[in-house]
C-alpha cells in the first residue's frame, strides 16, 4: 500500500511536466485546430542552446533555464512562421506534415551545435530527497511540480482574466466571428505559439534538470508524451491536458515499479489505445455532439 501511494505521488510529480507539454499542444490545437509535431524538437533545440552555454562557458543553471525557455520561444515562432503562417489556412495536413519536416531540420541543427550524442544537463539542485513519514520525495521532482503549478496558474489567469486571453478564447471558439470583431487572427495564432513554447520550455527544463542529461531524442520523447497526455485528457481542453498529464505520469510510475523500466513507455501507448477505443474524445473532450450542437458550432 505504501508502495502504491509512493508511486502515485511520484507519478503526479513527474506527470506535472507531461501536463505542461499537453497544455502546449492543446493551446495551439484550440486556436487553429492544428497539431504542431515540431513542438518537442523546438524544446530540444532550445535546451541544446542552454546546454551549449553550459558546456562552453559553464554558466549558472539559472542562465541555462532562461536560455532554454527563451530559445524554445524563438524556435516556436520560427516554426509558426514557416509551417503554419505560410501554409494556406485550409491546408491542415500540409502544415502538420511541414511541421514534421521542420522537426528533422531542428534535430540537424542541434547535432551541429553539439555533435556528441549525450551531454550533461545541469540540475537545479544537487540530487537530494527528503522524507515525510514513510514517504520519500525527490527535491528536483518537487520543484518540477511547483514550477508546473505556477505555470498552470499563470496561464489560467492569462486566459480567463485578461483581454488577451479573451481574444485567444474567442478565436478558438469561432475564428470567423472573432475576426469580424476586429481580433487579428495572425497575431493571436502567433501568441498561441509563444504560450505553447513557454509552457514547453519550462517543462523541458524541469524534465532535463531532473534527468541531468540531454540527447537529440528528447524532441521525439517530448512530442510523444505531450501528444499522448493531450489525447488522454481531450484535445483542446485545458483541464483535460492537466488531467491527462497527471494520469500518464501515474500509470507510468506504476508500470515502472511493478513491471520494470522497459514497460514504462509501452504502458503509455496501451493506455492511449484503451482510451481511444473506449472514449475517443478523451476524458474531458467533447462527446459526440447532438445535431443541434453541431449546427451551432459549425464554423
Amino acid at each position: 500500500m505504501i508502495d502504491f501511494i509512493q508511486n502515485t505521488v511520484d507519478g503526479v510529480m513527474f506527470g506535472s511536466s507531461y501536463a505542461l507539454l499537453a497544455i502546449g499542444f492543446t493551446i495551439v490545437f484550440g486556436v487553429m485546430r492544428r497539431l504542431n509535431l515540431a513542438f518537442g524538437a523546438s524544446i530540444m533545440l532550445g535546451a541544446y542552446m542552454g546546454t551549449w552555454l553550459h558546456v562552453h562557458y559553464q554558466v549558472h543553471v539559472l542562465v541555462v533555464a532562461v536560455t532554454t525557455v527563451a530559445c524554445t520561444v524563438l524556435v516556436g515562432i520560427y516554426v509558426e512562421r514557416l509551417c503554419f503562417h505560410a501554409v494556406r489556412r485550409d491546408a491542415a495536413l500540409a502544415s502538420m506534415v511541414s511541421s514534421f519536416v521542420i522537426w528533422m531540420q531542428l534535430e540537424e541543427a542541434a547535432i551541429h551545435l553539439l555533435p556528441e550524442r549525450t551531454y550533461a544537463f545541469p540540475g537545479l539542485f544537487a540530487a537530494g530527497s527528503y522524507e515525510a513519514g514513510p514517504f520519500l520525495f525527490r527535491t528536483e521532482q518537487t520543484a518540477m511540480l511547483l514550477l508546473a503549478a505556477v505555470m498552470v496558474g499563470a496561464l489560467h489567469l492569462l486566459l480567463h482574466r485578461t483581454r488577451f486571453g479573451l481574444a485567444l478564447r474567442a478565436t478558438s471558439e469561432n475564428p470567423l466571428a472573432a475576426a469580424y470583431m476586429g481580433i487579428h487572427r495572425t497575431w493571436t495564432v502567433l501568441c498561441a505559439f509563444v504560450l505553447m513554447s513557454l509552457a514547453g520550455g519550462v517543462a523541458g527544463f524541469a524534465i532535463l534538470a531532473t534527468d541531468q542529461q540531454i540527447t537529440p531524442f528528447f524532441g521525439l520523447w517530448a512530442t510523444f508524451k505531450g501528444l499522448i497526455a493531450m489525447m488522454l485528457g481531450g484535445m483542446g481542453s485545458l483541464p483535460g491536458a492537466i488531467l491527462g498529464g497527471l494520469l500518464l505520469g501515474v500509470v507510468e510510475a506504476h508500470a515502472l515499479w511493478y513491471l520494470g523500466a522497459e514497460y514504462r513507455d509501452l504502458s503509455a501507448f496501451l493506455l492511449l489505445f484503451a482510451m481511444l477505443v473506449s472514449r475517443p474524445g478523451g476524458l474531458l473532450g467533447q462527446r459526440i455532439l447532438s445535431r443541434e450542437e453541431l449546427a451551432f458550432r459549425r464554423v
Binding site: 480567463h160 482574466r161 485578461t162 483581454r163 488577451f164 479573451l166 481574444a167 478564447r169 474567442a170 471558439e173 469561432n174 470567423l176 466571428a177 472573432a178 475576426a179 469580424y180 470583431m181 476586429g182 481580433i183 487579428h184 487572427r185 450542437e293 449546427a295 451551432f296 458550432r297 459549425r298 464554423v299
Partner: protein
C-alpha cells in the same frame, strides 16, 4: 457612406453577383431582399471582407476597402451578424459582448493584459447597457450555448451594438423564428438598433422588412432589379414576378 460600384462575384461559371451598384447613406435602414440564391449573403460577405469581389469596388466613407482583410474592415466600424449564428458557445453572454469590444481597445501589451472589467466600471457598464437594450441582462452569466435561438440572435445583435459600429449589417436576423419571435425581433431592430444608426438588413420575411426598412433593394440572380421605398418596390410587377413567382404571399 457605403458605396458599391460594379461589384461582381463569380464562383466558377456561376455569377453570384453581376454588376451591383448600391449606395447606403447615413441613417438609412436598407433592406436587401430576394429569393434564395439571389446573392444577398454574397454581397454582405464582400462588404465585410470574407472574400474579395471578382470585379468592382467597395468604398466605405470614401476609403476604398476592396479586398481588405475582415479584421481591418471591422476596425473601420462595420459590424455584422451571421445567418448561421456565430457566437462563442462556451463563453458567457457577458464575455461574448466583451470580446466584441476587443477590436476597439488599443494600448498595446498593457491594454491586452488588462483584466476582465469589474462590475460597475466603464467597460462593464457599457456591456451591461447593451445587454439590457436587447433584453439579455438577466442572462449575463449564462453560457451562450445554453440560450434558445431567438436569444442567440439577440446576443449577436448585442455584440454589434457594443462595438459602436458606424454601419451594421444584419444577415437574416429573424431566420428560423416563429411569427411571434419575428415580431419581437422587428420591434427590437426598429426601436433599439435602427435609431441613430445606419443598417443593412438581409431578410425575406416581409413582416420584418415592412416594419423596419426605409428603403429596399431587390436582388434576383445576382442583379439588382428594383430599389426604392418599400411600398413602391413591393408593388413593382417585376419584383412580384421574381420574388413571389407571380403568385401568393411571401412567407411571413
Amino acid at each position: 457612406m457605403l458605396a458599391l460600384s460594379g461589384v461582381e462575384k463569380r464562383f466558377g461559371a456561376l455569377a453570384a453577383l453581376d454588376g451591383i451598384d448600391l449606395a447606403v447613406e447615413i441613417g438609412d435602414v436598407l433592406g436587401i431582399v430576394g429569393p434564395n440564391g439571389s446573392g444577398k449573403t454574397t454581397l454582405l460577405n464582400i462588404v465585410t471582407g470574407v472574400y474579395p469581389p471578382t470585379a468592382g469596388r467597395v468604398a466605405f466613407q470614401d476609403t476604398d476597402i476592396t479586398g481588405w482583410a475582415g479584421h481591418r474592415i471591422a476596425r473601420l466600424g462595420i459590424a455584422r451578424t451571421f445567418q448561421n449564428i456565430r457566437l462563442f458557445p462556451t463563453m458567457t453572454v457577458f464575455d461574448n459582448v466583451w470580446a466584441a469590444q476587443h477590436g476597439r481597445v488599443s494600448g498595446g501589451l498593457f491594454g491586452l493584459l488588462r483584466s476582465r472589467p469589474a462590475a460597475g466600471c466603464g467597460d462593464a457598464r457599457r456591456v451591461d447597457e447593451v445587454l439590457e437594450q436587447v433584453g439579455l441582462l438577466g442572462d449575463r452569466e449564462v453560457l451562450a450555448k445554453h440560450l434558445p435561438l431567438p436569444a442567440r440572435r439577440r446576443l449577436e445583435i448585442a455584440r454589434t451594438l457594443a462595438v459602436d459600429a458606424r454601419l451594421l449589417l444584419l444577415d437574416e436576423p429573424a431566420g428560423g423564428m416563429t411569427p411571434a419571435e419575428t415580431a419581437d425581433m422587428a420591434r427590437l431592430i426598429h426601436e433599439v438598433v435602427a435609431p441613430g444608426r445606419t443598417c443593412v438588413v438581409i431578410e425575406h420575411k416581409m413582416a420584418l422588412i415592412a416594419g423596419v426598412c426605409s428603403r429596399l433593394c431587390v436582388l434576383d440572380f445576382g442583379r439588382k432589379i428594383a430599389e426604392g421605398p418599400p411600398d413602391r418596390v413591393l408593388a413593382d410587377p417585376r419584383v412580384r414576378q421574381a420574388y413571389l413567382g407571380g403568385e401568393g404571399e411571401p412567407d411571413a
